[in-house]
Symmetry: C2
Subunit: 168 residues, 2 copies
Amino acid sequence: MAKARHKTSQSHPAYPQASEELSLGPLAGLIGFHLRLAQSASFHAFARRLDGIDVSPGWFAVLALIKENPGVTQTALSRADTRDKSSLTPILDDLERRGMISRERLPSNRRSYSLNLTAAGLALLEDLMKHATAHEHELDQLVGPGGKADLIETLHRIAAAFSQQAVK
Amino acid sequence: MAKARHKTSQSHPAYPQASEELSLGPLAGLIGFHLRLAQSASFHAFARRLDGIDVSPGWFAVLALIKENPGVTQTALSRADTRDKSSLTPILDDLERRGMISRERLPSNRRSYSLNLTAAGLALLEDLMKHATAHEHELDQLVGPGGKADLIETLHRIAAAFSQQAVK
DNA sequence: TATTGTTATACTCTATAACTATA
DNA sequence: TATAGTTATAGAGTATAACAATA
């Protein structure tokens, strides 16, 4: 987990287009393209921070959502994190095996699990949160003091708009 | 390729946290979290547009970069798209097999290929560009008229800052 | 020795479909 | 019949390492 390591050797050979940055052409004006590069770079930077901890960036959101919504079910959790419930199962299996979460059948509906953090899970989350905060601090610097709320609102609007489409 | 299909059945059962949106807690304030959701939603929406065309969103950038930088080498291309050269090989193999690109050894450096679009590749790219433009138009609406340049600049700053880190 | 590109391989993330058990 | 969760499986996407050809 969290095993991203790059080695971008900067040589400057003598043939066209290879020594400098490529021209992006129309890509330079596409939000979608920059969204991909920014999220990928940010994700890997966060993963690098988590090196040594055996938890990937995606698991952080799972733990944070359980803490914030005690007793949440797996299906509700998968919806909030916009992935299929079947993608969540192995993650939760692992977190349970490691004693980070508890799963209890709901008496009112014995098909569902009620998910909660254990004390160990809370401690893990708090550790992860420290790294997330440090990472976020870097992002804040890049975005600037006035831009953050706007940026989050815009990103949220994008996510919400296209998620609705997916339902159609 | 481009096979994303969601079915978010909106039932409203009678147990806690399942009927409505979950609380995001601290995640609500994290740029990184919203970056992931926005890019994932936008990516899948674009992929949905490309349904029927046997090319994924990632391949679009490859074709666009080759068009914009005729004769580019594989290593330079992989760098511009921030992925390893070995990830590019199977994509280029496929594009070449389908007659979309040409690969010629550079006389000046016979280790390198010079990549170019064929006529068919250009036609494919133009078709893809129509879909990308339509998708981008949707994003523009969401971002608003004044926000676009700012958003792209911010995303670019994030990508650039963390890519540099990766080199260290 | 260093670099370009290929190959072999593996890991992460995520989805679909069929299943069990409950409702 | 419908829903919650599991299992089996598959397919993108991407990386590392070892390699051949070339520099």
